[in-house]
C-alpha cells in the first residue's frame, strides 16, 4: 500500500483491488498471445485480456516448464488495446509478480497453468499494489488464497482441454461448500474452519453473507457459448476463456458469441442464435485420460 504525500489519495487498497474485479463482472477475459489477438478480443467485447506466450493447450502439447511471459510481449499487448491487461505469474514466484507489477499489468493471475515455483507457499499478495486472481477447486482453497490477499477467485477447471467437466465440478463444489456453511450454527463454524483449512473470520463472514467476499469467475475448459452460459448459471460472475477462442476455427465470431452468451446466459434463444455457424470448436481432451502429472488443477494447495 502506498500513499502519495501531496494528496489524500491512496493506491492499492483492498477496496480498489476487489473493486476492479467487480467492474469485470458479467464479462469475458480472453487469453491472447499476440497484439493482433488482443485486438480481436477487444473488438469482440472482452472486458480484459490475459497476455501470455502460449495458451494452455500449447503448454500442454509442447510440455516443458512454463514461466512468466517475455516483458516485450506483454508490453506489445498493453500497447495494442485500451482494455485491462492481465498476465500470469507462477505459483509462489513473487519476483515474477514484482516484474509484472512494474510493467503496469492490471491484474496478476497466480496460475497453475504455469509451472509452480514454490511447493509450499503461494505469493503473499497483500504488499502488492496490483491485484491478484487465483484459482480454486473448493471453498477452502479459495479462502486460503483470499487470506493471502487474492482480490478475485476463479475456478481452476482443467485449462487447455476444451472440456468443462472440471470447471463444473469446481463451481459446484465452491457453491455447495458456501451453502453448507450457511446451515451451520455458530459453534460449528470453528470445526468447519478447521475442515476447510481456512481462517475462522472468513468462514464466519461467508456463513453470514452466503457469498465470497471477492468476485468469483470461472476458468478452465470453456470452449463454447453454451459452456460460458452454463458456468454463469452455476454462479460464476464472469468467464475466463483460454485456448477455446484462438484454437477454434473462427476466433472472431466465437469470441463475440461467447461475450453475448455470457451477458444473456439465462436466455436460451440468444445462446442458440449466437451458437450458429461458429465453425470448428477447439479439439478437446478427455480429462480422465490425462495422467495426474499433467492435470494443472492439482497444482497449488
Amino acid at each position: 500500500m502506498s500513499t502519495d504525500d501531496s494528496t489524500t489519495a491512496t493506491t492499492g487498497t483492498a477496496r480498489v483491488k476487489r473493486g476492479m474485479a467487480d467492474m469485470l463482472k458479467g464479462g469475458v477475459i480472453m487469453d491472447v498471445v499476440t497484439p493482433d489477438q488482443a485486438k480481436i478480443a477487444e473488438d469482440a467485447g472482452a472486458v480484459a485480456v490475459m497476455a501470455l506466450e502460449r495458451v494452455p493447450a500449447d503448454i500442454r502439447a509442447q510440455g516443458g516448464l512454463a514461466r512468466m511471459s517475455d516483458p516485450d510481449m506483454i508490453d506489445g499487448i498493453i500497447e495494442a488495446v485500451s482494455i485491462p491487461v492481465m498476465a500470469k505469474a507462477r505459483i509462489g514466484h513473487f519476483v515474477e509478480a514484482q516484474v509484472l507489477q512494474s510493467l503496469g499489468v492490471d491484474y496478476i493471475d497466480e496460475s497453475e497453468v504455469l509451472s509452480p515455483a514454490d511447493e509450499a507457499n503461494h505469493i503473499d499478495k497483500w504488499p502488492f499494489t496490483v491485484p491478484f486472481v487465483c484459482g480454486a477447486t473448493n471453498l477452502g482453497e479459495a479462502l486460503r488464497r483470499i487470506s493471502e490477499g487474492a482480490a478475485m477467485i476463479r475456478s481452476k477447471g482443467e485449462a487447455g482441454t476444451g472440456n468443462v467437466i472440471e470447471a463444473t465440478r469446481h463451481m459446484r463444489q465452491i457453491r455447495a461448500d458456501i451453502r453448507r456453511l450457511s446451515t451451520l450454527d455458530e459453534t460449528e463454524l470453528y470445526a468447519a474452519a478447521k475442515e476447510l483449512r481456512a481462517p475462522y473470520e472468513l468462514v464466519a463472514e461467508i456463513a453470514g453473507s452466503g457469498r465470497l467476499p471477492v468476485v468469483l469467475f470461472t476458468a478452465g475448459g470453456i470452449a463454447t457459448p453454451a459452456d460460458a452460459a452454463m458456468m454463469m448459471q452455476l454462479g460464476a460472475e464472469g468467464v475466463f476463456v483460454g485456448s477455446g477462442i484462438f484454437k477454434s476455427g473462427d476466433p472472431v465470431k466465437r469470441a463475440s458469441a461467447i461475450v453475448q452468451a455470457t451477458t444473456f446466459h439465462d436466455d436460451p434463444d440468444v445462446i442458440a442464435k449466437v451458437s450458429r455457424g461458429l465453425g470448428e470448436a477447439m479439439v478437446g481432451i478427455n480429462v480422465s485420460t490425462l495422467p495426474e502429472s499433467e492435470q494443472f488443477a492439482k497444482r497449488g494447495w
Partner: protein, 206 residues
C-alpha cells in the same frame, strides 16, 4: 405509482447498484432488453468496461432506445464506465465506441492511468450534505471539457490531477467518475433517487 429504477445490466457492477437502490427503498431491476427499458422511470449505467457495454448495447438494440429515452427526459446516473456512456465525446476510446449522451462533455477514458494507479480519496460534492465523500477511482475517466449547461459537482483536490472534474450534472442526468456503489455511502444514489422521484411526481401532476 412506485418509482422503478433500472440498472443497465449488459456488464459491470450491476449488483452493487441494485443493492444500493434497494437499500433506499426503490424498486430496482436489471435492464438488458428494450422492453425492460420501457418499464423503468430512470436508469443507472453501472461501472464496468465501457467498450464492452457500447458493443453489447449496439448488438442487442439498446443504444438507440436508451439515447431516445434520455433525450426525452428520463433521469439517468452513471458511475465510471457509466459516466463515459453518458458523455457526448470519448477520448482514448475505441473508434467505434458509442455513447447514450445526456451530458454535454468530453470524457477521457482511463484518465488517471492503469489499475496500479487506481486510488481512493476524499472529494467534496456540491449538493451532497455532510462530510466529504470517500471516493473509489478504478481505471477511472474524468470530464476533460464540459458544456455551458453542465454543473460541475466535484473535482479532485491536490496531486497531479488537481482540479480534474469527477462529478457532473446536466438537468436530469448525473455522472461520477468514481464508484459510490462500492463504498456503502448511499448519498449519491439518494440524490439521484430524489431527482428521479421529483421527475415522476412532476409528470404525474401534468
Amino acid at each position: 405509482m412506485d418509482l422503478t429504477i433500472g440498472v443497465l445490466a449488459l456488464q459491470g457492477d450491476v449488483r452493487e447498484h441494485l443493492l444500493a437502490l434497494a437499500e433506499l427503498g426503490v424498486l430496482a431491476r436489471p435492464v438488458r432488453r428494450p422492453e425492460e427499458l420501457d418499464s423503468v422511470h430512470a436508469l443507472v449505467v453501472p461501472g464496468g468496461e465501457s467498450t464492452t457495454m457500447s458493443k453489447l448495447a449496439v448488438d442487442f438494440g439498446l443504444l438507440e432506445p436508451v439515447r431516445e429515452r434520455i433525450a426525452a427526459g428520463m433521469p439517468a446516473y452513471g458511475s465510471c464506465a457509466g459516466m463515459i456512456m453518458l458523455g457526448t465525446t470519448v477520448l482514448d476510446g475505441r473508434p467505434d465506441q458509442r455513447t447514450f449522451g445526456g451530458i454535454d462533455m468530453v470524457v477521457r477514458r482511463n484518465a488517471f492511468g492503469r489499475q496500479v494507479d487506481s486510488f481512493e480519496t476524499d472529494v467534496v460534492l456540491d449538493g451532497i450534505e455532510g462530510h466529504a465523500f470517500r471516493t473509489v477511482f478504478i481505471r477511472a475517466p474524468w470530464a476533460e471539457e464540459v458544456g455551458p449547461q453542465v454543473e460541475v459537482l466535484g473535482r479532485i483536490e491536490g496531486g497531479p490531477a488537481d482540479g480534474r472534474i469527477v462529478a457532473v450534472r446536466q438537468g436530469r442526468v448525473m455522472a461520477t467518475a468514481f464508484h459510490p456503489e462500492v463504498t456503502g455511502d448511499l448519498r449519491v444514489h439518494e440524490a439521484f433517487v430524489d431527482l428521479a422521484r421529483g421527475v415522476l411526481i412532476g409528470s404525474a401532476d401534468e
